[in-house]
Symmetry: C2
Subunit: 431 residues, 2 copies
């Protein structure tokens, strides 16, 4: 490679334009830090005529991203197109096959094809870097891949979706409903018109698959992740959480268990005193539990053009500096295919909210069912019945038990006919 | 270099022994990650006979650390001796001069001789890595040097001394005096018999000098740092802070100002809602404000054998992987010698606690003096006089003003004879 690193960028939306702007603003500093002048020599975007407020006079325009990816004019290909197939996948594959390095922010692509792409990068001696794909501007990929190299990691978990955290924060702080907060998030551009991908936990799952691979040296397996979203969380749950000393967050959690690596995305009760509970609004946070470092938490912006561009530019700088790590820490052949630990084997505390019919013996019957399934209760709170006097909300908090026991006990309670509505279950995450 | 990275470790205390243990436990993983087998081939410590519970059978013992540093038996020298002169300095210089890479946890050595050592490393093409020197297990050096390469950093600040944070946390949470908490810290091994180095803010200053160099591309200059410790913080201050919506933390702060880089260590009021306010006990935290990433906070263990060893091993792994960054991000010749912004020019809000004599006109005279110096008051709280009815505590909170104005106004107030004791001044740090 010459003393110039020639960069091609495919996709010039908010992030792409911000990358060009940062490379320009930091040009002298980056050259001094890396020993290479970083120059954008090629670009590809849908509308070349659009004014993006950036200077691209030195760059060649390509109408097809795959042509840019393969071009002799670039050493490094930055993919900011998005999508887990089509032009994004084709152009990344083309760049890697041509021996070029690739920087991408595309978590969906990585969650689906990460291992195949890492293999391609290895075969052709290119780098494949994706700091921007998880938690935006937070350098969690570098931290897991390099900063914690001396550790055996036990658990990694985090708030990985700003939209969900914004909604839960506003619901709690302002006493608003889920629907009201979602509508506001959409107005502010935090949530898409079809919010399912964020709200349903799928975006978090993509990011978690990447974190789990880096943390545990295992092959990405988005299919192995149990996913629940926040769509059924009510104000009543947030208020009960607060009274019990918890706060509800949508977490992605990956942890070692005796049965394999457990990967799950779901609304979670975290202790109010924990670092992660303090993270409000669109901010993201990731906590790593490991043998040597004990607990490490990183808090920062999970999205936004500039924050994402910050991560992209850090990857570009690493490649300019000649840093070559295996994309997922270990060479692909060293990545294990872990036994998946199914959700039914999950162990932990549970918050359960039941709409209990006001009948003599109902509470006793419920407590009996829990005991029959070996579940110890840490607390039971029965509220005064509100609108409908025939039903009273009852909140149970269990000591550590298994998902299977909870599900079986609740099935029995429902079958007994004591509850008027579907039980609400939120898992509690210990610190 | 061969496919083996031969490591020599000088200093086998808690951290040194933990490094040997981690290298052993992670041996297979490190070899797969870095492509090199990392082997401890040489050691030096005061008492070779002591049982450290680690296997050093493959290592040669050296009685003099400088002999180990120069030895042909090692590629990489790990300095864990401590001290800013003597064997630590001599052995690091010897290793670098012999073209070897060096990993050190020695902030005092770096604060005093960092630039000379970086120059030596550059001249002989060795690495000089020191992740463990600041904030223990938190990968803040890597984050500043690599993870935020695309950013212009505006401010970096943090809780960098676990001893001080432990004392302040316990004082606040348990209503204990400074002296009681210090005694407990000493009993628990968090504080030395002579605690001046921690309590007086000097340890924080050493770490801040390193962070400022990395963040702003300037030469280390520990002399440029204004340092105040926590020895004069009283329970009354912590309680007043809490009532005002703040918490007192000993912070190291480095920030760009129109007058140059301002570097200061002092007790600070931080908003209770800030991430850094939540950090209690011996935990450390660092926040970086930068143009692209906005705000990034890292929270983790600031000390302890295993956490420090985690950082040392991460540096070893980087060197095994062939990662070579300039020690302070930029080559030494690119590091600026910044104009120092003196503390008198510091701008910010101030908390001022006065023991005001119960005389007619005293409050008015104080308010007049503040106004004369152009200081606007955000709040004034006068407490009921307690034991001594002739004196009442008055707490003032100012809007942003300069250190010089505050000092001059207080000098005038003291000269007026209205206060019975030395005014207490604590700077407020905006989020």
């Amino acid at each position: 490679m010459s003393e110039i690193l020639r960069v091609g960028i495919a996709g010039l939306g908010t992030v792409g334009a911000a990358v060009v702007r940062l490379l320009d603003a930091q040009a002298a500093d980056l050259a001094a830090r890396t020993g290479k002048k970083v120059v954008v020599t090629g670009v590809s975007a849908r509308d070349p005529a659009r004014d993006r407020g950036i200077d691209l006079s030195g760059a060649t325009w390509f109408s097809a991203p795959t042509d840019l990816a393969r071009s002799d004019k670039i050493d490094l290909f930055v993919e900011l197109i998005g999508g887990d197939e089509g032009p994004a996948r084709e152009s990344v594959e083309a760049a890697l096959a041509a021996g070029k390095s690739v920087v991408t922010a595309n978590k969906a692509l990585l969650a689906k094809h990460g291992i195949a792409l890492a293999r391609l990068a290895e075969a052709h001696h290119g780098a494949l870097a994706f700091e921007a794909s998880v938690a935006g501007g937070i350098p969690i990929v570098k931290t897991l891949r390099e900063g914690l190299a001396g550790n055996r990691i036990e658990r990694v978990y985090g708030i990985l979706n700003g939209t969900c955290n914004y909604i839960l924060s506003r619901m709690e702080l302002e006493g608003l409903s889920f629907a009201e907060c979602l509508a506001d998030a959409q107005k502010l551009g935090y949530a898409e018109a079809d919010p399912t991908f964020d709200i349903g936990g799928f975006d978090t799952a993509h990011k978690l698959a990447i974190l789990a691979s880096l943390a545990f040296g295992v092959k990405l397996d988005a299919e192995a992740i149990s996913v629940e979203g926040i769509q059924d969380i009510s104000l009543a749950d947030l208020q009960a959480a607060s009274e019990l000393g918890y706060r509800v967050k949508l977490l992605g959690v990956a942890q070692r268990t005796p049965h394999g690596v457990e990967q799950r995305v779901h609304p979670t009760m975290v202790p109010l005193s924990s670092a992660i509970a303090q993270v409000m609004g669109v901010t993201n946070a990731v906590t790593v539990d490991a043998d040597a470092v004990n607990e490490l938490t990183l808090v920062g912006p999970g999205a936004g053009g500039m924050a994402t561009a910050s991560a992209v530019v850090a990857d570009i700088a690493d490649i300019a500096r000649g840093i070559r790590s295996a994309p997922f820490g270990l060479p692909v052949d060293h990545l294990a295919s872990p036994e998946k630990s199914p959700m039914q084997r999950h162990e932990g505390g549970y918050y359960i909210r039941l709409a209990v019919r006001n009948e003599i013996g109902a509470a006793a019957a419920i407590a009996t069912r829990m005991a029959e399934h070996g579940i110890s209760l840490e607390s039971i709170v029965q509220r005064r019945a509100c609108a409908d006097a025939s039903v009273a909300p009852v909140v149970l908090v269990t000591y550590a038990t298994t998902e299977a026991s909870v599900r079986e006990a609740l099935a029995a309670i429902v079958a007994d006919g004591h509850v008027a509505d579907k039980p609400q279950v939120i898992r509690i995450e210990r610190e």
